[in-house]
Amino acid sequence: MKRFIARHVATLPKSGIRDFFEIVSKMKDVISLGIGEPDFDTPWHIREAAIYALEKGKTHYTSNLGLLELRRAISTYVEAHYGAGYRPEDEILVTVGVSEAIDLALRALINPGDKVLYHEPCYVSYHPSVALAHGIAIPVPTRAADGFALNAEDLEKAWQPGCKVLMVNLPCNPTGGTCDRARLEKIARFAVEKDLIVLSDEIYSELVYEGAHTSITAFPGMKERTIFLHGFSKAFAMTGFRIGYACGPVELIDAMMRVHQYSMLCAPILSQEAALEALNHGEDGVKAMREQYHRRRDLVVGRLNAAGLTCHSPAGAFYVFPSVAATGLSDRDFAYGLLDAQKVAVVPGGAFGPSGGGFVRASYATGYDQLVEACDRIERFVNTANPCSAPSSS
């Protein structure tokens, strides 16, 4: 049957996380630090709002753009937190998570062969999303020495004629890297100079532990060339609701909406109702969760460094991205060895792009007692490892 599959789909790389997941999910008593979502359940008041909406019979389509009341709340929230005002009527589109928003933006912007810059290591979907939109993805490396911040100089180096879009994800999954104002300003200038549209995925922006988060859309000349992407999954612990949004110039939002209306029609109404409750009454819950993540980060960074792995303190998100070079193992051998010997799951950094090689991603979205135990086990593994090799990739 393979001959029927479209070439650009057939050639999509398999997610490096997938085969690892298959192994971990069959094992018992594993402490998994491989999970890219909050351990907190969605705060009850938000779940209750969704139940209430269901009871009230809110079971119909909404406007393609999403409920106007939700778009108004998003507009207020984005202006207050990111310093950019978007009109609820035509500059905001409610989507099925940021993932759909990225897909819509790329499909709305990319002609076959257009080039898209993105920094790496990065979220697993970026490269495939560009490929699915018939674009050419151009990775830009980031480094541990900079805390995995994105540098304009590296962008300059990677840039080629035909680049149309720059994708940024700050704070970054998997590295937790962020950019300070000075770095962002240079990136903004680069985007203006090269006439790029910036897709700014700021899904982790509430989870920043050093300084304040700054959005690239707030820099001069950026709002008219930025599609600001955000959602509720991480800050409000609403991953399963699949709800996000895009804010941007009216022409771009309109183009994205045209793809959205024919593919998705609208985001699920119950998730939209829950999102409205989250924006109206959820800030205390976000703060409480952020405080816990902050303490967990300090705990894990301290312990991993003490165990002999080099681990920068990530400024945001809920991942640490330590180097495993000190063990003499590749990221894959480390992850498989650790799983086999100590039953702790971390994700090999190579799953997030070639520049993630030699690192592993460990999520600290897990309770303190589990984290302490996992750190004990990692320490034991690093000290006594006589690890087996990873099975060859298939």
Partner: protein, 160 residues
């Protein structure tokens, strides 16, 4: 808020060594914080959170509303403190509203709890009336939801 107090109120069981790691302080500092909280009368002691409504726990719990006559000079304090000394009394609070004291009692059987109420509590001078409510089932105990499935099982073990 004191970092140790914060960890205590968030629930979950951490040893002092684990608290030290989580709060980013030394174990000696955690112990010092705990000692200070004890001196301040905030931290009274460790207790497990138990669901005593389970049959296997072999216990009966009741809540008793007590109306009483306040005393000149001392109000309800003398009598409340006296009542609190009974081993059967788990917690005792002075309340606003239609009764004065709310008492949480537990005992090994319904008869024992009933005997405490009729023989000890209601015979005290100053106690005007009591109203005893036996607990039938727990839904939440000390911030723990009872019967709720462990949510960790619902998360995918590895996700992007």
């Amino acid at each position: 808020m004191n970092p140790v107090l914060k960890l205590l109120t968030e629930g979950g069981y951490l040893t002092t060594a684990q608290m030290a790691q989580v709060a980013g302080v030394s174990e000696a500092e955690v112990t010092a914080h705990l000692d200070q909280l004890k001196r301040d009368g905030v931290f009274l002691g460790w207790r497990p959170v138990l669901d005593l409504s389970r049959e296997s726990a072999g216990a009966v719990r009741a809540v008793i509303e007590v109306k009483m006559t306040p005393e000149r000079g001392g109000g309800f304090n003398r009598l409340a403190e006296r009542l609190s000394k009974f081993d059967e009394v788990e917690s005792c609070y002075l309340m606003s509203g239609s009764y004065d004291l709310l008492i949480f009692v537990n005992g090994p059987s319904l008869q024992k709890v009933a005997a405490f109420v009729s023989e000890k509590l209601s015979t005290l001078e100053g106690v005007l009336s009591t109203s005893t409510h036996f607990m039938l089932r727990s839904y939440k105990e000390g911030s723990f939801l009872i019967g709720a499935p462990a949510s960790e099982a619902d998360r995918l073990k590895v996700s992007p």
